[in-house]
């Protein structure tokens, strides 16, 4: 019986430390508490079910984030945004000109403006910024979690950050007026 406890602790040992962060990430994707809880619940159940197919010794965090992301994409809310998700040429939010760093002096930025800018970003930009800056994943991990090559991780990140700065600059200008 002791072995059973040890075994049953193992999935939890890997997954439970990620619980709060996965919930945060789910909130950022869904923007709804109940939907986020459902998404985390579904993710943990799917991960547990598929745990035997998880290649031991590989990256568990990237693996479970990928499950969460796929669960989100097949959910009702996810279906509405999934069209834009893998579109690489989303030019609508790209700045017309290169932003001058001085125009976006971030020390002046409130947490609120950053949160609303993040929320306004298209999901593919939002998720990659969150995985990189909030989850502090390496490019390799992000590549595994989203299922895109590392080169695409870097280019998408760069475009996501430009879009974010454009949004923030607009907010700053709006606020100072």
């Amino acid at each position: 019986m002791a072995n059973q406890t040890a075994d049953s602790g193992s999935f939890e040992e890997l997954a439970m430390p990620l619980f709060a962060r996965l919930y945060s990430f789910a909130c950022w994707l869904t923007h709804d508490r109940a939907a986020a809880e459902d998404l985390v619940q579904e993710t943990f159940m799917k991960a547990l079910k598929g745990f035997s197919s998880f290649k031991q010794g590989t990256n568990f965090r990237a693996w479970i984030y990928r499950i969460l992301r796929n669960a989100f994409l097949t959910s009702q809310a996810g279906l509405q945004v999934s069209i834009s998700l893998d579109a690489e040429d989303d030019a609508s939010l790209e700045p017309a000109t290169e932003e001058n760093p001085e125009t976006v002096f971030l020390a002046r930025l409130e947490s609120e403006s950053i949160q609303s800018a993040l929320a306004e970003l298209p999901v593919n930009f939002r998720e990659i910024i969150l995985l990189c800056d909030f989850e502090e994943m390496s490019y390799q991990e992000i590549s595994l979690a989203i299922g895109i090559p590392i080169g695409t991780v870097m280019s998408r990140l760069s475009r996501a950050r430009k879009a974010m700065r454009t949004l923030l600059a607009a907010k700053l200008q709006g606020a100072s007026r």
Binding site: N3, Q4, A6, D7, S8, S10, F11, E12, E13, L14, M16, P17, F19, A20, Y23, S24, C27, W28, R33, A36, E37, V40, Q41, F44, M45, L48, K49, S52, Q56, G57, N59, F60, R61, P101, E102, V104, L106, A107, L109, S111, E112, I114, Q115, L118, I129, L130, C132, D133, F134, E135, E136, M137, S138, Y139, M154, L157, S158, R161, M164, R165
Partner: protein
């Protein structure tokens, strides 16, 4: 040297994802190029601000998870695991357990690597900024009975300051700062012309985790000592010796009791 070449690499530089060769090249370039250096700083600031803003979403009432959600989830994990275990336990349970231990160990390494103490990182930046400032403190006083009351109403917590009369330390003053987007006290002390900053911030499960034992380290050449007591996290930073920092830490700890 072409700036365009390095601009591409600045994002990876801010993400600490450059190869050692690229890193050396970019750092060398940043030393001589103010515009790239400003861009790199902006990227790092944005990264840091994003991290803090992203983390604070679930502190908002509308995103706070239901109190029993975690418990429910753990129950359903246990509930759905049992049959799975029964069907598969015959197949090399010992090997599976060993492999899981290995994953757990590599996971510990992974999270240990990814985890950075943001409270220390931000305190370091604030200390460096204080050293460079012409107005290092907002309340200028060597009297603890002046400095402590100044923080009243500015902070959601209070603290005790030690009597320094018979010690080599001098209180210079204090100021209100923000660490992980929460209000914090910065106290400035002096010993033999070296300044020591002491930061006090509330422990928060997600942003500023408690540190159970006193921990002394060296970060970017500064002596750093940190501990938690009574719901507050203390971070001391100075260019003086670790022993000087520790002795002041002892005074603060005895005053805090």
């Amino acid at each position: 040297m072409s700036c365009d070449l390095h601009r591409e690499k600045l994002g990876a530089y801010a993400d600490e994802s450059l190869s050692p060769e690229d890193l050396a090249g970019v750092e060398n370039h940043l030393r001589g190029c103010p515009s790239c250096a400003a861009e790199a700083l902006a990227l790092v600031q944005m990264k840091r601000a994003t991290r803090a803003a992203a983390a604070s979403l679930t502190l908002k009432p509308e995103f706070r998870m239901s109190p029993d959600f975690r418990q429910k989830l753990e129950k359903s994990i246990q509930g759905s695991r049992r049959p799975l275990w029964k069907s598969s336990w015959m197949r090399g349970l010992a090997a599976a357990a060993a492999a899981l231990l290995l994953i757990a160990a590599s996971f510990a390494v992974l999270t240990g690597h990814a985890y950075r103490d943001q409270a220390i990182a931000e305190s370091l930046d604030l200390h460096v900024a204080t050293l460079a400032s012409s107005n290092p403190v907002d309340v200028v006083s060597t009297d603890r009975h002046t400095v402590k009351p100044w923080f009243q109403g500015k902070l959601p917590f209070t603290f005790n300051l030690p009597e320094l009369q018979d010690s080599p330390y001098k209180l210079l003053g204090g100021k209100l700062v923000y660490i992980e987007h929460g209000p914090a006290a910065q106290l400035l002390f002096e010993i033999r012309k070296h300044q020591i900053s002491v930061f006090l911030v509330q422990n928060d499960e997600r942003l500023v985790p408690a540190v159970t034992a006193v921990s002394a380290t060296s970060e970017r050449g500064f002596s750093v000592e940190t501990w938690s007591h009574a719901g507050l996290r203390y971070v001391m930073i100075s260019d003086t010796s670790p022993a000087d920092v520790h002795a002041l830490g002892e005074l603060l700890r005895s005053a805090g009791r």
